[in-house]
Symmetry: C2
Amino acid sequence: MYVKHQRKTTSNSQHQLFMAKRSKVNQRQRILDEAAKLFKEKGFAGTSMRDLGGEVGMEAASMYNHIKSKDEILESICFYVSNTYISQLAEVEKMDASYTKKVETLLRRHVYLMIEDGAAVSVANNDWKYLTGDKLIQFKEARKRYEQGFAALIEQGIAAGELQPVNVSVALFTILSAVRWVELWYRPGRGISAEDLERNIMTILLNGLAK
Amino acid sequence: MYVKHQRKTTSNSQHQLFMAKRSKVNQRQRILDEAAKLFKEKGFAGTSMRDLGGEVGMEAASMYNHIKSKDEILESICFYVSNTYISQLAEVEKMDASYTKKVETLLRRHVYLMIEDGAAVSVANNDWKYLTGDKLIQFKEARKRYEQGFAALIEQGIAAGELQPVNVSVALFTILSAVRWVELWYRPGRGISAEDLERNIMTILLNGLAK
DNA sequence: TTTAAAAACTAATACCTGTTAGTTTTTAAA
DNA sequence: TTTAAAAACTAACAGGTATTAGTTTTTAAA
């Protein structure tokens, strides 16, 4: 996560086939991953560095060889999520398709990230408020950018007659919230596959519950 | 809130027209109200008793004349919300109406509580995890009871052919989540009235976004 | 095997936490 | 005006917080 799928750079030394198992970047990543899980479970303020150290298998103080501060951990997680969302928006905006299709695609990716990275998404959704100073401002701006881009798609869909003429803000937030339970509820093996889950959500939001 | 609309009991002494402005119950209620606002804003773990005292206009220690502990504040808020939800469910279950109408009514009341008591609902939604021991178990049970009651209405609606044959759990959580943004977003004077808000949400969830 | 950097440790820092004890002030009825 | 209870206060507690400094161990290349 956060530096997703970053692979070991094969060294130019022939003697070294694999990088150290405990390289700086990997340990940092482990700390971020465990932090996301713990923050999701107990909240940022409810998680101590000693808790986190316990989970990582390291003294709290030792983690400072890999991270700058507790705040920096939160920042890394939050901006990984916001950057991912914004990239997805940018990709969809470039698509050559109907607005319905664009909304559907963006929503699908939105849900997909929740399934893939539930803990990080949860932290970005719930603990962003503990960001401070510039970082707080930047995060709010990023979120606003995503929301406005998403809203624009809905608005254009309505203007083109593809979507119901509902209040755009209400539609946007209803959609974005409607999928938030995924992060709380979904676990593989809940009796429903990720595909079925996506399809059901799409049906409800696009076609409604009533017959 | 929590002891909603409890009115001053007119004393049997004729000399006393009004109760003291700072009676024990009122001060306690003020503490609970300010706590709900603060917990919503900064989280339970992120709010100190000194923060709360500052907001109430009282030393932290002085509040212990009115409350038992910080945990008890959280319990009062959470159970006020869960009790309200469960009463609403019980009322709707007694109704003589179609399942669509029942689902709609329950959802309307659900949204109404969010509009009326956003801070308390927010705390019950986000900070319940800081409840401990019995209280945590009881709260989870109450939530489960509400969710199962709500799910039963949807299930019966599907069985009666009134609602789309979607996965009941997905429908339930999509609906319950869909309205959660109200607590984060809605403020009177946002350019949309509570009635319009309710109507728009109902339209999207019952009829869908697509035309 | 030597060497030096990286990553772990222990100990200590200054500060913040919820809560209690004891005291003073406020309130409201006698 | 007296009295007693209620509600505020100050001071202190024991323990938790993130973080730093200094030291030892581990790692991996020379």
